[in-house]
Symmetry: C2
Amino acid sequence: MVFWKRFFNPDSTSSPSLGPTGAEEFPTDDSDKGRIFFTTDRDIDLYELEELCDAVGWARRPIRKVKKAVECSFLVVTMWEVRGNRRRLVGFARATSDHAFNATVWDVVIHPSLQSKGLGKALMQYIIRKLRHYDISNITLFADPQVVDFYRRLGFVLDPEGIKGMFWYPD
Amino acid sequence: MVFWKRFFNPDSTSSPSLGPTGAEEFPTDDSDKGRIFFTTDRDIDLYELEELCDAVGWARRPIRKVKKAVECSFLVVTMWEVRGNRRRLVGFARATSDHAFNATVWDVVIHPSLQSKGLGKALMQYIIRKLRHYDISNITLFADPQVVDFYRRLGFVLDPEGIKGMFWYPD
Ligand SMILES: CC(C)(COP(=O)(O)OP(=O)(O)OC[C@H]1O[C@@H](n2cnc3c(N)ncnc32)[C@H](O)[C@@H]1OP(=O)(O)O)[C@@H](O)C(=O)NCCC(=O)NCCS
Ligand SMILES: CC(C)(COP(=O)(O)OP(=O)(O)OC[C@H]1O[C@@H](n2cnc3c(N)ncnc32)[C@H](O)[C@@H]1OP(=O)(O)O)[C@@H](O)C(=O)NCCC(=O)NCCS
């Protein structure tokens, strides 16, 4: 079955704990670009994900660990450009969570060829909606300095009541 | 079987994915106070946990959600004061994780009657050691302003390379 049909097949739920993959189409005028879909389906070619991360200059990570991280995240959202029966991974984000109070969003990325068209915003809004659906009310993330304003526009606040993000790294 | 014996029983592993509970004793001179143990065992009376959180003034949370959060955290560490065959919950912390790259520590608490004796530090060092054992190298947390220095002494750094903790809350 071709990819986007599977999106709308109610029998297809790759992540039972999360229910149906809930694919959604991102409306676009530019028919040359193909159609854009979001989904929580985890059927991802990890080499394609690596290419996407390479395209924004992120350091390579061992595929074995990326596989584990994708499996063990609470929510994984991918964005696909679909033309005919071919699809291309153009966006990605994931969140860890305790399934109850807190979630933390990691690895938000849109392919450079599709940035600044509203896709990053739509991806984050989709994540927020999904997490709210599970009644998670404390959505957190660690923003690189150049994207703080991107998240601020989405309603994220910096250091509320003086709460500070802190990191521990091995020596 | 009494509580602290079960700690040292190699057959007792409440969290198979995390291996043995790895109980450890915190050395103390004060024999009046009983013995202090850490463990990753999740056999917790949730009402006792609520009492501990009450004791430091945290807002009450629905027990149903606390249960889910304890189950779905990657790591849960508890600290117990043991006298005879009675135990009392005196410390708690937990971490969410993608089991690969990142972990985020939540709900770090030591009972007021036992604060300032090095237990909080030992609890955090125990968590760091456990997470490092699973090869997780990016340990994060969100610190209330009055405890930023507590975490700093443990090697946590604030906003490294300008990375900022951000929060989204429902309206
Ligand atoms: C950050 C990123 C996901 C944004 O995605 P995008 O599709 O380009 O963003 P959008 O087009 O949806 O932008 C939404 C809004 O944010 C603004 N915005 C986008 N990137 C921004 C940035 N870096 N700084 C400030 N504002 C930004 C847009 O102008 C737009 O504003 P508007 O709603 O007023 O029109 C994307 O640029 C990216 O993948 N960057 C590289 C990877 C990265 O840095 N990820 C974040 C790691 S923490
Ligand atoms: C924060 C908390 C866990 C610390 O535990 P503790 O057992 O009292 O701390 P320790 O005795 O192990 O202290 C370790 C070191 O940190 C220092 N320290 C402890 N609390 C501190 C604070 N609030 N600010 C600055 N330094 C602090 C101690 O002086 C000690 O320093 P040293 O190593 O130089 O001797 C405990 O006070 C607590 O439960 N507080 C209420 C709940 C809370 O605020 N949790 C954190 C939410 S983000």
